[in-house]
Symmetry: C2
Subunit: 328 residues, 2 copies
């Protein structure tokens, strides 16, 4: 019987699950609505149902599921298999998701922050394969981050929040972030920041016509539509993506100076707007860095798309099995 | 014969040298003017003379010098024993200081950035002894920094500049730094920043009398005199130290969020003004951090004073000997 693991990525609206082999190939996918508004119990139930389906699928093909890896947005207590605090899944705060899964399936379960498993995934099978030290950023509703140092995910002092790059303050006089602090990277470089920028222009009557306003009125304003407007030459959309690039360049300049490294990998849904922010990002980086030669800097696009986090979660599950086998 | 090493700290105006035993005790000190304005060759000659004196001192007491550790302000190529770029010792740029010393004394010589050896020193024998992950800051003419991660000095990707925390941009609309970038931590939290603040007030005719102006006219304005004025209640001096604390709190908030750690150790000559900046530092940290519980944060004062860097350089020399003995 072939051995496989399950990798899952639990986001604010959807959960994605896959059967993953030891080489990092996703053999079969599932996608389900999270339905978190109905409570953590409902979401957990949907997750268990999805896992059961993938186990059945695996068994029918002569594969045995050995472990489950979970990536969840928020601060995680990995040792207890618990979500400590999740701004985008608040109903999940304190919920023993990992423990529940472990008891139901009698399998090892590992839990990790979604941006951290993004980093592990890209390192395993994506843009980070041959890079020893790098900064990972995921641009989505918010901005997630991770640090891969000496080829390993940096986990800090066990506070459950290493790599919170979205909450670096890049401009103390900038806009207020969802976390309450003024001037976080996330308040400049996320889908929320793009939407906020459009809302402010509407409130200030600076936006009185055009496709951005039409999308807003149709309830269809998101990062993708704002990017489409930028591509069509809309000045506000262009400005918002320029601000995103400026902010990302500032944060990376400070991180590169602090860490003495020069490599970043950027993913997440909003990174689809790459063309609209990468030039301002490089310009801002060059303007704000003095101690790392700017010609050594490399900013790469993530390669695994939507699969990065679930592959990373699967990788963690494999590593955990290896460590158990080694008796550690 | 007892074994010892030499630890040295080469700053912009003075070099300090000591004979250091394996337990981290400095047995005998020397202090010499650097005289860098007379050229790197002169400084190097004075360093060699100092080392020779300490070797003679050691031999007379039955001790044999095994290795030399050098701490130098600037970007270092440790593998080549070379100073790549030193803003405060520009004559030293590209100078093979380590190599010269190695050839003269036929001893192993290790070279490292001064803020990095500060970190190693405080970790060996000072405030960092029992802390696994911490941020080190040295407040002097500029702001130096280091990261101790998992109990070891973080050296980044070998760019010669890990831990350049003074060149994190904390306020992109803030004052310009000596490095050319606008808004670096160093432009807010160094002796240079304090002096610049006084100069600007004089130029703007906002400072027309009082002890700060008297010190300035007497050519005696430095961090110590500005701190004395702050203690006496001078409003400009107080404001400059408050800005220093605000900037340090901002930088530490971003670093703690990024690294998921919560400990900092602050040293350097300007940290003598601790009472004038520590409260604004804590207030700023609390204002700018959201992902690390603020009650877990610990900001400590360095314990080794002027000896931190030379003890750290000595520690590196010991480690290097151990590694050679282990055949690495």
């Amino acid at each position: 019987m072939n051995h496989v693991v399950l990798g899952t990525d639990i986001g604010g609206t959807h959960m994605r699950l896959a059967v993953v082999d030891e080489q990092g190939a996703a053999l079969h996918h599932l996608r389900r609505k999270t339905l978190i508004a109905e409570g953590a119990k409902v979401t957990s139930g949907r997750l268990m149902q999805g896992c059961q389906e993938l186990m059945d699928w695996s068994r029918d093909r002569g594969c045995q599921v050995q472990a489950i890896g979970l990536g969840v947005a928020g601060r995680i207590d990995a040792s207890q298999g618990k979500v400590l605090f999740s701004p985008h899944l608040p109903e999940m705060n304190g919920y023993p998701l990992g423990l529940e899964l472990r008891e139901r399936f009698k399998l090892p379960v590992v839990l990790e922050n979604d941006a951290n498993v993004f980093g592990i995934g890209e390192q395993w099978a994506g843009a980070g394969r041959d890079v020893r030290n790098w900064v990972g950023l995921t641009l989505g509703t918010g901005v997630g981050g991770c640090l891969i140092l000496e080829g390993r995910l940096w986990q800090g002092s066990g506070l459950g929040s290493a790599g919170e790059l979205g909450h670096m303050v890049i401009d103390p006089r900038g806009p207020r972030c969802a976390c309450g602090v003024r001037g976080c990277l996330e308040a400049h470089a996320s889908q929320s920041a793009l939407l906020q920028g459009v809302h402010q222009a509407i409130a200030a009557r600076a936006l009185t016509e055009g496709p951005l306003l039409d999308h807003y009125r149709a309830g269809a304003l998101d990062a993708a539509t704002i990017y489409a407007c930028a591509q069509a030459g809309d000045s506000l959309a262009l400005e918002l993506f320029q601000r995103m690039g400026w902010a990302l360049g500032l944060a990376l300049a400070s991180l590169f100076s602090a860490l003495g490294i020069c490599h970043a990998i950027i993913g997440g849904g909003v990174s689809a707007g790459w063309d609209a922010f990468i030039e301002p990002l490089h310009a801002s980086l060059a303007e704000h860095i003095s101690m790392v030669p700017v010609d050594m800097v490399s900013i790469q696009r993530a390669q695994l798309g939507d699969d990065a986090a679930l592959l990373g979660a699967a990788r963690l599950a494999w590593q955990n099995l290896d460590e158990q086998a080694a008796g550690r």
